[in-house]
């Protein structure tokens, strides 16, 4: 991260312009977020007269009621189960496929890889109606797997691409030497490739997790029981029930995006890495 340009002039109109511009964008981003957080601490009446400022009386009760309600935790639990299933399955299935594409030469390899990566172009919405019928026929409607399996399938294209490129960088000589010493491909995969690939596994895992955690359309179609709803569905229902009691809805929104923000701060490196390496395809 070297400097692209350096300015040492005491006053530079460019710097002033830049500062003002950045400040405006920062306000544009921050205000809705802060208003949501603070709105959850207000009463409905105060929200109406004082939507921007700090609360006059901090209504901790709004947050406490939600945290002690059980409903909030159930939504988080459902989301956690679905996302974890999706991540674990994606990592297993995608890393095995990526390993094969990276290190095993066979007829049709590149054709199969192109087939799989076509998935990057397909709009999920096209598949969603037939997917509903298929999941129903498989008896998976209203189950966590009914949501997780299609999510795994849709995340495979990107995951396999990212993992394969990383696996290819593991020196071929290492595999060769291991094979000569009587190690099998599978053992090599298990004891060399996977441990060496922790950073990229973390990246793919984080991206898959965030996508699954935030997903709406697939759970909406596949789940009918409130008790199974992940949080994006649950919060829509909540908003419907409390339609104009914005102080409660804002507190609920804040509490549901909190895990996302914590995850982002923890895994920020992996998210950005996945974003940029996924973008600049090789």
């Amino acid at each position: 991260m070297n400097k692209v340009e350096t300015f040492r002039a005491p006053f530079d109109p460019a710097v002033l312009f830049k500062t003002v511009f950045l400040a405006i964008v920062a306000i544009f981003v921050l205000v809705p977020l802060l208003a949501t957080l603070l709105g959850g601490f207000k009463s409905l009446g105060e929200l109406r007269v004082n939507p921007f400022g700090l609360p006059q009386h901090w209504a901790w009760q709004n947050y406490a009621d939600i945290l002690f309600s059980g409903r909030y935790w159930q939504l988080l639990r459902n989301s956690l189960i679905i996302s974890t299933l999706t991540v674990v399955l994606t990592l297993i299935v995608a890393s095995m496929a990526a390993f094969t594409f990276a290190h095993v030469r066979f007829y049709g390899s590149s054709m199969l890889l192109s087939y799989l990566t076509l998935g990057l172009l397909f709009p999920a919405a096209t598949a969603v109606l037939p997917l509903f019928i298929k999941v129903r026929d498989l008896g998976l409607l209203d189950t966590y797997f009914g949501v997780a399996l299609p999510q795994v399938a849709f995340s495979l294209a990107m995951s396999v691409l990212l993992l394969r490129r990383f696996f290819k960088d593991i020196p071929y000589e290492l595999l060769e030497a291991a094979l000569v010493d009587g190690c099998s491909y599978i053992k090599f995969f298990r004891y060399v490739t996977l441990p060496l690939s922790r950073p990229i596994l973390a990246t793919v895992g984080t991206i898959t997790f965030v996508n699954s955690w935030n997903a709406y359309l697939l759970p909406l179609v596949m789940l009918n029981t409130d008790a199974l709803y992940p949080w994006p569905l649950g919060i829509m229902v909540y908003q419907g029930e409390y339609s104009s009691e914005w102080h409660l809805i804002l507190a609920f929104i804040t509490l549901t995006i909190l895990p996302t923000i914590i995850l982002f701060l923890l895994a920020q490196k992996h998210i950005v890495a996945g974003l940029t390496s996924g973008a600049v395809k090789g």
């Binding site: 094969t100 030469r105 919405a125 399938a153 060769e176 974003l275």
Partner: protein, 313 residues
């Protein structure tokens, strides 16, 4: 360095021919085991849950079918005719066009400007990057709900600004004139940070000596920007445009909490139109026809774009 496996003639290698190589060298059997154990799960899941459903969408689109039992009432291309005769479909298509236009004309220039500012190192640059990227991390549903509060005519931020001027606040999301505009603003808010991060990553991988050399040769800041930095960013810009368009075509989650496509279909996207007509009423044939139209648009765009603009990538 010779690669035994790479140099062997792919499939038809017998273990015997390999045994003439180094003792205990890689054998075909090992590869075969990996192939039959490691590939099928991915291929099976992908085929079953991605490729087949898309094929089935094409098949179902020929039926008048509510999703129960088996489809029997074949009506050929009538579903497509019904879709294309619906005014709401063209509205949705127009809205997707608007989203693309705003993404390309507002969002990307904004992202590029910010990236150029924030790729330099100064105090607060990293914090600002994270802040601008934050909306992208939030779920579309949460974003939509936050903004339905912002736009709320009684309690929202926009309303209170209106009131401070002594005017009666509008219900932006409830009016056919303003609903789509309100959605477009949220789209910019949510996604500009993503493109900014792409540009920052690209800027940081630019070889600084190029710019220094230009400076020494007397290029001004804006000259080096125009003639060196921006051209070096072209691959990323092309990619960003690609993501922006593909993403715009598939937008759904953000529309639902804001307007559900309303009022009077004025803020539908193709996917929310598909959802409102195909899925919530289980008109499988009709919905599938919308899905197939979306598919054709996306795939045609992707291949054309790749052929024309991303040949070298």
């Amino acid at each position: 360095m010779a690669r035994p496996i790479a140099s062997s003639p792919a499939m038809g290698v017998s273990p015997a021919s390999l045994s003439t190589r180094a003792v205990g060298g890689p054998s075909w059997d090992g590869r075969f085991t990996v192939l039959i154990l490691f590939l099928p799960p991915a291929l099976l899941l992908f085929t079953l849950f991605v490729v087949l459903p898309i094929g089935e969408a094409a098949w179902y689109s020929g039926f008048n079918w509510n999703g129960f039992g088996r489809p029997t009432h074949w009506i050929g291309f009538d579903n497509y005719r019904f879709v294309l005769e619906t005014r709401a479909f063209w509205l949705a298509l127009r809205n997707n066009g608007l989203i693309i236009a705003v993404s390309l004309c507002v969002q990307l220039p904004l992202a590029l400007t910010l990236a150029l500012m924030l790729a330099e190192r100064f105090r607060g640059a990293v914090a600002l990057r994270m802040l601008f990227f934050m909306p992208y991390i939030l779920a579309e549903i949460a974003t939509g709900l936050i903004f339905s509060f912002v736009y709320d005519g009684d309690y929202g931020l926009v309303a209170s600004i209106w009131r401070s001027f002594g005017a009666e606040p509008p219900h932006l999301l409830a009016s056919t004139d303003t609903a789509m505009l309100a959605v477009l603003i949220v789209i910019v808010w949510k996604y500009f940070g993503f493109h900014m991060m792409l540009f920052i990553a690209a800027l940081q991988s630019i070889d600084k000596s190029l710019i220094e050399a230009a400076r020494i040769d007397g290029a001004t800041r804006s000259q080096s920007l125009r003639h060196i930095v921006i051209p070096l960013l072209y691959p990323t810009i092309r990619l960003s445009v690609f993501f922006a368009i593909v993403g715009s075509l598939q937008l759904f989650d953000l529309v639902m909490p804001l307007t559900r496509g309303g009022p009077a279909d004025s803020s539908n996207t193709m996917v929310s139109f598909l959802y409102n007509n195909g899925i919530s009423r289980m008109r499988v044939g009709y919905g599938s026809a919308i899905g197939v139209i979306l598919f054709v648009i996306c795939v045609t765009f992707a291949f054309t774009y790749k052929r024309w603009f991303m040949r070298d990538e």
